[in-house]
Amino acid sequence: MSGSRIDEAFADGPAFIPYLAAGDPNIESTKEYVRALVRGGADIVELGLPFSEPIAEGSTIQNAIVRSLEGGMTPDAYFDLVEDLDIGVPVVCMTYYNLIYRYGEEEGPEPFVRRAAKVGIDGFVVPDLPAEEADPLREACDEYGLDLIFIVAPTTRGERLRRIMDRVSGYVYVQARLGTTGARTDVSDQTDTSLGRLDEWDVPKAVGFGISEREHAERIVTGGADGIIVGSALVDIVAEGDTDDGTVAERLERKARELKEGALAGGESRPQPERP
């Protein structure tokens, strides 16, 4: 659990982790958008591999997934996309377990992980895979040196929390509020409590679900987060398309910069965490 590319991404202060649905609306655009986000300051990129039943997503990302699937996105196309990216920051694959489980000829998650490692993916977030069912994927990740990021929810406590934190690597995805993904206009009070519960663990804590503004980013990092994850606010920009305000790529870069600045500002207003 040390020395992965993901770990390094948290080394220089609070990380900004944008999410996009791969293939929304097509493969070439995704490459362009990801690069724009990196230019804007992304430290890690979460790239969604669309699944037809995205039970953890709100309508913004659901719609992105529909666009992507209609554009012909498949696991193989996804891997090719990542292979082509070459962006210099770690890529985390966010998808649902069935796609991982079904991939390849052999049974289980191993073929998927093997291929992911090969194309340069650094870790996974699998929203429908709680710690209880994660052992096969955890093993395959270990074998190929990939991180397996778990989500902790506001409802995760005590024994459960321990079970998850025993298995997590890369960072822990702190779900800022109950519910599904989706941009909000406020910061949930649950966030600070959730972060507090994680004090005793040394793994980086990245907060997601609902962050859409510079101020959110700042407040959350001030509250103790090591990173912020932003998805729907960016997917909204993709969905809007080019406007008078700039192309999608331009606006993504601008938004990324703004959020990253928020995170940095938050980082300065609190005692820097000791990093190992």
Binding site: E53, Y103, L178
Partner: protein
């Protein structure tokens, strides 16, 4: 704690936010349902009897017995309050939620039968209730939508995908992920994460508990076969459970839809035969047999009956099929419609279109079903009248009454 798997199937593939609620539910299931804490089971049984109308009869079907030259018995779940077996489960879960101190109930529905059952149970118990239903199903099952509203439930249309049961389940899970602290999700079949498949089966097992006693009383012995239609599989598991230890053949009749062929390109399987043609995968919280493409994307299923129109199936049923204990079979839309009309005319029972599938299999394969056959009449067809008018008019269905006067709908 109860086992979360059935062989290789089952499990708990859900977002972390739901896991604490699911653990709480496992605990409540253990205490109230399995150990009858606070007399939960007695309360449940009393309500099933007085509010639900249990026991339902096991009826000797005279005309069908003569037609097939064997003794055909009907387990009359269509007589349950609300018109389908669904109340057994909806009432059980709503009552459990009440014992757990939850104030709000959410549920998905396909045919609307689980939604109406849940809405009725919630009205009966004084719980708030919201039902998610695919927009397409809302249009196919308008009377049921209205019944839910009458019982004071909100009905939330789900517009993603093809707007059927699969999408409704996904959307209900999303609501639950938001509301999990005060809300119980009353899932409508033996699907979803553990402990749902086991718990729903236990609530539905009353079907075979009664049927087994009744058939012994009427014939002095056990049936040679039991037939039940399978969507998610709750009436199937309910009708099979107490017979699994016996020497009785168990047939799960799936919706063959318009064809068993699959349109990979379009992402559509024009059937709902996951046991017969599906492959292993993970959906809606469980590992089970699914209709999916080679990438693992879930297919849009199809059936003339909304209640069977689902790409997955209960993990226990998948396991029993692998073990050879349950035989998966299927019949197509036309066969189901024909049987709908046949049962209506020969026995004076208008079955749900879902149920009609079991009778279509009886018609096709009766010779191999032995001397004593039980068919589970999972529901009545009042909710399907509009669909039957349309679908019958589109086809040349043997034995159907003249539909002309009903062109333009009811």
């Amino acid at each position: 704690m109860s086992q979360s798997k059935f062989g290789r199937y089952g499990g708990q593939y859900v977002p972390e936010a739901l896991m604490p609620a699911i653990e709480e539910l496992e605990d409540a299931y253990q205490r109230y349902v399995l150990e009858n804490e606070e007399g939960f089971v007695d309360d449940f049984r009393a309500r099933l009897r007085d509010f639900g109308g249990r026991p339902t009869p096991l009826q000797h079907a005279e005309a069908l017995s003569a037609r097939y030259d064997r003794e055909v018995y009907l387990k009359r779940e269509d007589l349950l309050h609300g018109g389908a077996h669904k109340l057994n489960n909806a009432l059980g879960q709503a009552l459990l939620a009440k014992y757990m101190g939850k104030e709000r109930i959410i549920a998905e529905t396909g045919a609307g039968q689980h939604g109406t059952a849940t809405a009725m149970a919630c009205a009966h118990l004084g719980l708030d209730c919201e039902i998610y239903m695919g927009e397409r199903d809302i249009n196919r099952q308008r009377p049921n939508v209205f019944r839910m509203r009458l019982n004071g439930a909100e009905v939330n249309p789900v517009t993603t995908g093809r707007g059927t049961l699969k999408e409704a389940i996904s959307e209900t899970m999303r609501d639950w992920a938001t509301s999990v602290e005060d809300t119980h999700y009353v899932i409508g079949s033996v699907v979803g994460p553990h402990p749902f498949p086991r718990m729903v089966r236990d609530f539905q097992a009353v079907i075979s508990e009664e049927a087994r006693d009744q058939v012994i009383e009427k014939t002095g012995g056990l049936p040679d076969s039991v037939l039940a239609c399978a969507g998610g599989g709750s009436n199937t598991m309910g009708a099979f459970h107490e017979f699994t230890g016996d020497d009785t053949d168990l047939y799960a009749v799936e919706a063959g839809g318009s064809s068993l062929e699959v349109d990979e390109e379009g992402g559509v399987a024009p059937n709902s035969a996951s046991l017969s043609t599906g492959s292993e995968g993970v959906l809606h919280g469980a590992r089970t047999k699914l209709l999916q493409d080679s990438d693992g994307q879930i297919m849009e299923s199809h059936s003339v009956s909304s209640g069977l129109d689902y790409a997955g199936v209960g993990p226990e049923l998948a396991h029993l099929v692998d073990e050879g204990r349950v035989t998966p079979v299927n019949v197509d839309d036309d066969g189901a419609l024909e049987s709908f009309h046949r049962l209506s005319q020969l026995e004076g029972i208008i079955p749900a279109l879902e149920t009609a599938h079991a009778f279509a299999f009886l018609e096709e394969e009766y010779e191999d079903l032995g001397e004593i056959v039980i068919v589970n009449v999972s529901g009545r067809g009042d909710k399907d009248l509009e669909s039957v008018i349309e679908e019958t008019a589109e086809r040349d269905i043997e034995g159907a009454p003249d539909m002309d006067v009903f062109q333009g709908g009811l």
